[in-house]
Point group: C2
Chain length 151, copies 2
DNA sequence: ATATGTATATCGTGACACGATATTGCTCAT
DNA sequence: ATGAGCAATATCGTGTCACGATATACATAT
């Protein structure tokens, strides 16, 4: 028992990072559940979001989707396969460069995506203060981050 | 050719959400790579972080870890198994309640964790402005989020 | 002491991301 | 133009990991 009420201690950075990741995880969990309830696999949701949210002037290819999702090309191909199979996405060969596949969100996909966007915006509004709070703490304590001894 | 320079359009919310998730993914990717380079599976890193970053006065159990990582209990058990096997974590039975397992990060685990904390703080410092920027945009546009038509 | 609940553990299954490799189409130097 | 090299996508086999369902051990209330 006789410990300090809430030792800020030298591992304050660890605590803040843990808190940040916890909030982040909660958001991601919310997002995954929302997607599933809307009938989408979480990753499909992300794919649709990146395809629909890309600048209009650019060709949305598999490689683009892969980079945006932080995936390898082949993983993106499989994800696109599944999404096309379920009528959420449309894949057409590029006319100028027949190697490329151009991706487009179908009407069905846009409908689901629109519904998800609303709830996500709400959730992010609630989450924002806690996230930015943790971020400020981290940047504040980042400088003295070298006193991380293993005791 | 003749399209507006960068149509803000009605799907501005989608664009902002996409950008937010992209930045988020980049951070997560950075974190995963950093963990792997340090010899940890990304999820092990998160486990160690939540165990080490928990308030001192509380007993860190499997259930706590599961909730913090957004996992089911059994997944947390398996994750703990692997981490204990690799000498990163210590699992001891609770004296007061023998059902519970108390988790503690080993010296080895703390060493790796400390190294990772530093680089993460740096990365988050760079990322913070873009993340908070996107968050502000979202909260700003959250109210008019109902004009999401599928065209 | 039994019944109900709680914390952790085990086992089989499925989804998915990946590495390695293949295929098709572009591009550029000569 | 044409073959060599490069770029974009596709295929296949593999391993990891989270999960649901279930089991076990312990606690608590009546």
């Amino acid at each position: 028992m006789g410990n300090q009420p809430a030792t800020p201690g030298p591992d304050l950075l660890l605590k803040t990072l843990a808190e940040f990741r916890y909030e982040l995880r909660r958001f991601l969990l919310f997002s995954e559940c929302a997607a599933l309830e809307a009938g989408l696999q979480p990753q499909q949701h992300q794919l649709l979001l990146q395809v629909a949210g890309a600048p209009e002037n650019m060709a949305v290819t598999i490689a683009y989707a892969a980079e945006r999702l932080g995936l390898k090309h082949n993983s993106a191909v499989e994800l696109v396969d599944r999404s096309v199979r379920e009528g959420l996405l449309e894949r057409t060969a590029d006319v100028n460069d027949k190697r490329r596949a151009i991706l487009r969100v179908t009407r069905k996909g846009k409908l689901v995506l629109g519904r998800l966007a609303g709830s996500h915006a709400e959730e992010l509004n609630e989450l924002a203060p806690r996230l930015t709070g943790a971020l400020k703490h981290i940047s504040f304590n980042a400088h003295r981050s070298n006193n991380v001894e293993a005791r």
